[in-house]
Amino acid sequence: MMMSSSFNVFRVWISFIMMGIFYKSTVASLPELSPQKYFNTLQPGKASLAYFCRAVLKHDLLIYTLCLKCNLLKVNCVKEDTSRYCGKEKDLMKAYLFRGNILLREFPTDALFDVNAIVAHVLFALLFNEVKYIATMEDLQNIENALKGKVNIVFSYVRAIGTPEHRAVMEAAFVYGTTYQFVLTTEIALLESIGSEDIEYVHLYFFHCEQVLDLTQQCRRTLMERPLTTLNIHLFIKTMKAPLLTEVAEDPRQVSTVHLELGLPLVFIVSRQATYEADRRTAEWVAWHLLGKAGVLLLLRDSLEVNIPQHANVVFKRAEKGVPVEFLVLHDIDLIISHVENNMHTEEIREDEDDDVEGPDMDIQDDEVAETVYRDRKRQLHLELTVELTEETFTATVMASDSIVLFYAGWQAVSMAFLQSYIDVAMRLKGTCTMLLARVNCADWSDVCTKQNVTEFPIVKMYKEGENPVSYAGMLGTEDLLKFIQLNRISCPVNITSIQEAEEYLNGELYKDLTSYSSVSVLGLFSSTMTTAKEDFTEACNYLKGYVITAIYSEEDVLILSNKYGATLPALLLVRHKEGKIESIPLSSTHVQDIVQIITNALLETFPEITVENLPTYLRLQKPLLILFSDGGINPQYEKAILTLVKQKHLDSLTPCWLNLKNTPVGRGILQAYFDPLPPLPLLVLVNVHSGGQVYAFPSDQAVTEQNLVLWLKKLEAGLENHISKFSVLFNTHSSAFCSINFKL
C-alpha cells in the first residue's frame, strides 16, 4: 500500500535511542551505546529521542515497544560520564529530542505515557512549523483568510495532546503537511463556535479554501465522520483530493475511480441531454453532501451504449467486488444521501462485529438444557395426557381426587425439559393409574403457585385426601417419578394383619408388581404395646414414602416372626428381593431420623454398579471410590476378588463399585479425562473424590487378584503410588469473555 510506505519514511528518519545509567532490563535486544558514542553518531538532519534514567522505569518497555518498529540504538551511559543529560538527578525524568546534535525539545517522561503519546509528541515538535496550533476562533479566521485561493486546510480538534487521535493527526500531517495546512486545537470552545455537534468527540474538518476566490466567502467545510485513525484520515484526504464530480458515458459496471479503491461506493446521477444543466446542479449538490462518503458521477445516458432500466435515475455501485450495481428510482435528493449513508452504516456495523471478538459468542447458547429444549420447541407434546389446572380448578381438582401436580413455568428450560418426562410418565401410566396427573403453568397462574408455596420450578407435589401435600424430592426423570407414583399406591407403612400376609410380604408375593421399583422391602416388627416405637417407625416410613416399600406388623403373634428371623423386638426385617435375603436389624434407637438412616443405609449395596442415578447416594459416604470400569457385565473373578476384600474389611475406608459402560456410556467421558491414551478395559481406578481429586490406576499389567489389590492399596496408603490424573480445579467463569457486553455505563 502506498500509504504505509510513506509512513515508513519517518520511521527510518527518526531513531529512538535509549541511554541508561544502569540498565537492567531484560530487554536485551536494544543496541547499546555510551553517551559519548551516542553524541558522535548523531547525524545532521536526523532526529532522535533520548531518554535518561537511573533505574528501569515502566517507560522503557513502552519505548521499546515503539522502537521495535524502527532503527534502535541503545547507549550505555557509564557512571563517570559528565554529560549534562545524564548527570543531573532531576533530568532523569526527562526525554530529549535532537535534530542532528541540536536539542529541539525536552519532554517530561510522564507526558510520554504510551506509544501514541511518544509519536504524537515527537511529531508535534518536529512539525512545529507545518502544524499550526491555535487556541481562538480568531486564529482560525486569520489562517483561513490568509489561505483563501491558495491552500486547503485540515483542521482538527483533539481532546488532549498525546492521545491516539493526536498521534493520528500528526502522522497525517507528517505525510500531507506540505500539501495542506494543518491546524490543530484542543480548545472545545473553538469547536462549539464553528457549530459542531457532539463536541465531546474529536473532530477533523477539511476546509476547501483553495478554490475560494471571493475573500468574503467562507471556505466550504467537510467533516470527517469516521473515527479519527491514521488510516481513516488518509482515506479522507484522498477523497478530498479526488475531483468533486466526474462525467462519464460508459457502463457503470465498468467505471472505477479512486473511491472504489478506497472502499467507498459510487453514485451515478443519470442525466439526459434535455435536463443536463439541472442534473449537473443536482449532482454537484449531492457530491458536496457525500464528500468523503462516496464518489459522485454524472452518467450521460444519451451517449451510453449499454441499456439501463427505463426509470432509473440513480445508479449505486458498492465498493465490494462482485456485488451487482443497483438501479434506483429516487424522487428526492435526500433519499440519495440517506441511501448512501444507510449502506455505509450497515457496513460499519459489520466492521464493529468483526472487531468484537466476543460478538459471535454472545448469541450462542451454552446452556445444554436451554438449547435442547429450544431445539425441541416445535414438537407437539401430548399435553392432553395431563390435566391443566387453573386458579379456578386447582382446589376443586386436588380435593376431588388423589393427584400429582407439576408446577412449572412455560418459559423456563428446566421446567420444560422435565415436562417431557412428566408426559412420558403419563403415557406409561395411561389407563392404569388411579392418581390424576395434573400440571399448573406458574407463568399463567402465579397466585396458585405462590399459595402452594412453590417459589422455584419445577416442583412436583402429591395431593392425597386427608394428608398434607408431599413434595417429590427425587430425580427429575421418568423412571424415578414413576417409581414414586407406583410406590405411593400402597400406604406407608402397610399394615400387615396376619402371619401369612407377613410371609407373603417378605417373599415378595404381596406386592409383586412393586418389588421392581424398590429393591428392598422393610417390615417393622413391634409388640402391640410399643406405641412410641410404632409411631416413630410410622413417621420414618412417611418420610421414605415413595422411595421404599415399608410395612408394619404388631399383632399378638408377632413373636412367631421375631423368633423365626432371630430378631429382638422392636426390630426391622429387611428383604433384598434380588438376592432373596432377609436380615434383621434391632431397633435400639427409636428416633425417627435414626430409623430413616438405618433404612437408607440398608438400601446401599456393598459392591454396587454405579450409575448416573445412584452416584450421589454413594458420594454421601464421603469415601474415595474404587471403581472398576467395565465394558459390559462385570468379570466374575474381579467381582469375587473385591467381594472377598470387602468381607475381610480391607475396603472399609473405600466405596468399592463398578461401572458398566454399556449402561452408563458417560463413563467413557470420565475415562478420557483420566487416561490418555485410553488403556484397554476393564480398568480399576481409585478416585479420591472428596480430597484433592487424585486418580490412581491399578497397573494394567497386573492381574486383579486379592493379593495384588491389597498390595496396591497398601502402597497407595503409604503414598508410594503416583496419581495419574487430578480433578480439574477450574470450574466456572466460562463466560468471562463477555465482560464488556452490556456493561456500558
Partner: protein, 684 residues
Amino acid sequence: MGLSAAAPLWGPPGLLLTIALHPALSGRPHRDYCVLGAGPAGLQMAYFLQRAGRDYAVFERAPGPGSFFTRYPRHRKLISINKRHTGKANAEFNLRHDWNSLLSHDPRLLFRHYSRAYFPDAGDMVRYLGDFADRLGLHVLYDTAITHVTLDKDQQAWNGHYFTLTDQKGQAYQCSVLLVATGLSVPNQVDFPGSEHVEGYESVSVDPEDFVGQNVLILGRGNSAFETAENILGVTNFIHMLSRSRVRLSWATHYVGDLRAINNGLLDTYQLKSLDGLLESDLTDLAILKDHNGKFHVTLKFFLEEANTNQSADSITLPQDDNDNFAMRVAYDRVIRCLGWNFDFSIFNMSLRLNSGSAFGKKYPLIRASYESKGSRGLFILGTASHSVDYRKSAGGFIHGFRYTVRAVHRLLEHRHHGLAWPSTMHPITQLTNSIIRRVNEASGLYQMFGVLADVILLKENATAFEYLEEFPIQMLAQLETLTGRKARHGLFIITMEYGKNFSGPDKDVFFYDRSVGHTEDAWQSNFLHPVIYYYRHLPTEQEVRFRPAHWPLPRPAAIHHIVEDFLTDWTAPVGHILPLRRFLENCLDTDLRSFYAESCFLFALTHQKLPPFCQQGYMRMQGLVSTETLRQHGVESRLLRDYATADRPLKDSSQQPGDHEPVGHHLAPGSLVQSLDSSKEEL
C-alpha cells in the same frame, strides 16, 4: 371470604386501655395508626393494616368513601384505563393494565367487575371503593371531619410524640402514627386582577347547552382543562386555552399525568385551524376586564396598574391598542379556570412542620422518598398528595402507582414498629436468573412505579443463595438495612424498569424511525420501558445515592445490564433475553449459572473438584434432571452434549476449538462442554 363484620370501633375495651395508660388524656381514644381520608390511598392502607391485625382507624369527613370521585372528574369519565382483557391469565401481570383496582386478596374486588368501559365512569369508582371498604370490613369513621391536627411530645410514644386529631364535634383522637391520604383537595387559584370573573372547574356548568355560540377562554393546560374543552368543543364559537407552559403530551413524556390522547380533541382542531387555539403566557401577568356588555377582555396587569383606579373598564388600555393583531383581542363570553389542585395544609398545626415543597412541588407537602414527612417522624403522606416523590416521572400520584407505594410504606411500618422484616423469599443461586425473569415479566409494581420502586436481591455469603425483596423505594437504598431489617453484606442486585434516558419529554419525537432496539448488543440503548439490573458490591451510601449521575435512578453500579426492550413486553426469549441476563449475572458473581442434565453432572462429579451450582444443588442432592431421548439427541446435534455410546475410539478430535486450550498438567475429555467449563478467568 371469611372476613367478619367490622368490630365496634371505639368500644369500651379500647377506651379502658387508653385510660389506663394515660389517665390525663381520658376521653381521648388512642389508635396506633390513624388514616386521614377514605379515598383509594386511605382504603388501601387500611386494607394492609387490617390484614396485619393492626390497631387503626380511618377518618372520613364524607358519609362514604371516595368522596372526591362523587364530584370529580366533573365530566365523569375517568382516564385511568380499565383493560379487561390482555390475553393472559396471570393476575399480577394483568394489574399492569388495570389502573383502577386496589390491591387485595379478593379477586372479586377487581375493577373490571365494576365497569365494562375502557375509560370508566367516576360513579363506578365510588361504588367500587364502597364495596372495597365494606367487603373487607375496613374500620372507617364516616362523617368525621378532622379539623385540626397537633403534635404532642411524649417519651412513651413510638416516635417521641403523639398526633392529636380533633374532629368537627371537638372529639380528640390520639395516634401513634398518622397516615395522611387526603389527596389534593384545594382548587389551585392564580391571583390576578379580574380573577373574580373567572369560573372554576369545580363549579362550571357541564351542560354543553350553556356554551352554545360562546367564545370561551380556558386557563390551564392539564387534563381537566382539556376535559372541559372536549365537552363543549362542538357547541362553542371557539375555545382558546391559555397557560404558562407548553402542552405536555403523555405519550411523549411517558407520564400519565400529562395530557392524555383521549382528551386532546382541541389539539386537533387547533392544528387544523378550526378556530380553537392554544396560547402560552404567564397568568400572573394578566388581567381580565369585564366590559359594559358583560364580555371579558384580556389585558396585562401592567396596563391596569398604569390606569387610574376610577377609570371605567372600557377605557383601560388593551394589548391590541398598541398591537392590533394581538391574538386574544376578541371578547370572551366565559373564562374558566382549570388549574389543578393543591394539598390542604390548613388543618395541620405548625408543630407538625408539614411544609410545602419548593418550585413545582409547591402543591405537595415535603416528604422523603420513604413517604415520611421531613418535619415529623411518624407522619406519612400517602396517595395523590405523595406525588412529589415522582412528579412528572412515574405513577405515584395515581391509583395504579400509589397502591404499591402504600404497600411499601406499610412494610416499612411493620418493620419499624412490629419487628417484622421486609417480606422476602430465600432461594438457591441457581434460581437467580429465574427469579428475575419471573418478576420482570409479571411484576406490576415495578412496571407502574418505574424508577421509583425496585426489587432488591441480597446475596448471601459466597453467592450461594440470595434473598429477594420486592418493590423497595430505591431512593432509600442507602438505608435499606435499617428500613427492612435485612442484611446486605455480600453485594446486591437491583431490578428496575426504565425508559431510555433521552426518550421522554414534551418536545421529543417519540415516533422517530429506529426508535426501538432489537439486538441484544444494543440493549442499553432501549427506549421503551425495559428491565435494567444494577449490580453493587456494597450497599451504596447516602452520599452516593444523593450525588448519583443526573437522570439516573441509582448511583453508578459496579455493573449494569439492560434487558433489551420488547414489543410485547414478554422478556422470556431464551437467546434474546435470558441468555444475556444469565451471562451478566455469571460475570458479576464469577460463577456458572447454567443448567445441566444429570449425566453432565455425573461426569463433572468424577472429574472436577468444584461443581456448578446447578449440579451441586440438584444432582448431588439426588434431584438431577434426567434428559429424555429426544432432548439428548438435540444436545448431541448442538454439540453441547456428547454421544458417548457411539464414541468408542479415544478422542483427540476436532471438537477442540481454536483458542480453547487445556490447562497444563491434566487431561480432560475434549468435548466442547468440558472445554468451555475449563476456560477460566485466570487463564485469559
